[in-house]
Symmetry: C2
Subunit: 226 residues, 2 copies
């Protein structure tokens, strides 16, 4: 059994990514980064998923990216609503968090190096990906190259880092079908950018729109829908 760090946000993608990593035989060490999101329902979902995935350890690291501002996800800009799929894909949206995946992967690398793990799983997706630059395959490949230059384990040849992004070329519907086949319980996940105070999804932000479209195309029922 090889060890791997799983970046676990609490969303549908990272839940599916974790199930794929388990199926591939990895022992999982989950890392959730609290970067100052608007709400904490994602963190609660991450805790539930860590238990469901039977991870060996779950670390939650707090880093206040919100203090830099610049994103609807960390509070100072309104979350856009009621946009169709083609609008969502047309530009990089205000829910982009500056350099988020670079920060997440840097922290995952620090964790992996101390564990002696050379594998990191990240549930990014470049098809229905909301236009984030740091979800693209060329970004993921560049980070793996950096990791081997950046670390004692890389330089001493004890680790050759691999950043696994098994969802990167899948549509949301394909991700959901794959996850359902692996037994992922999507009732444990949280997707909405702007839930009500009880955690109920708004149903109108880009994340809700892409999730609904994904379940519809997969011909499946979303357990979070009533």
């Amino acid at each position: 059994m090889k060890n791997a760090v799983l970046l676990l946000s609490g969303g549908l993608d990272s839940a599916t990514c974790g199930a794929i990593a388990r199926q591939e035989g990895f022992t999982l060490y989950a890392l959730t980064v609290d970067y100052g999101q608007r709400h904490h329902f994602e963190l609660e979902a991450a805790r539930r998923l860590a238990r469901a995935l039977a991870v060996r350890e779950h670390r939650i690291v707090t880093v206040d990216l919100a203090q830099f501002g610049g994103s609807a996800l960390t509070g100072e800009i309104d979350v856009p609503k009621d946009r169709a799929g083609h609008e969502i894909e047309a530009e990089i949206p205000v829910t982009y968090v500056p350099a988020r995946n670079t920060v997440l992967l840097a922290l995952a690398l620090a964790y992996a190096e101390t564990l002696g793990a050379a594998d990191v799983f990240l549930g990014v997706n470049a098809v229905d990906y909301s236009g984030y630059p740091d979800c693209r395959p060329q970004f993921i490949e560049a980070f793996a190259g950096l990791a081997n230059l950046a670390t004692k384990a890389g330089v001493e040849g004890r680790a050759k880092y691999t950043i696994h992004a098994p969802l990167v070329q899948l549509t949301k519907a394909e991700i959901i079908r794959r996850g359902l086949a692996l037994g992922v319980d999507y009732s444990l996940t949280h997707t909405c950018y702007d839930p009500d105070p009880t955690g109920k999804p708004c149903g109108r932000c880009d994340a809700c729109t892409l999730r609904r479209k994904g379940f519809a195309e997969a011909g499946a029922r979303d357990p979070l829908e009533g």
Copy 2:
């Protein structure tokens, strides 16, 4: 005047790096990362230096790398003492913090992108560099490449990121001479890995040894020495 993010640790190198950035005409936004160092004298030095450098803004971001363990600088391993220069350079020491500079640069990139800045200054040094892999020029270059793939500003062509590491090929003595010529007040800096409870340097850790050697070779007096 162009804006730049300065990674400011509170040490001799970042103080000198900041003075060089100012001389080059940048308006500075200082970023200090509290990553769970053993002591807080570095943070206090960073605050003093931020004032001395007349930075526009000084942000302190806390991220608990210490919870991952694996380094003498974050607490669980003893700091080595009384090693000669050639011993210090022979291997990557236990004071290495896993993936530290990757995490620091990722946070600097997040800050830079929200500021609309494309320049980041980092006082790393590959000559008297204590053998850290993430202080080497090839690491710095790889990170700049990553930054342009990782960000909205990079992808949209609004920013071409440059990671400035003006000390990377200088000896400690050359750094000190350069800083003294620019008027850096080294009494404001903190270098020691293992100070006493009042902040007084131990004089025996690798950082103290390299600092003393540097001042001696520069033919200058260290204001922190009695």
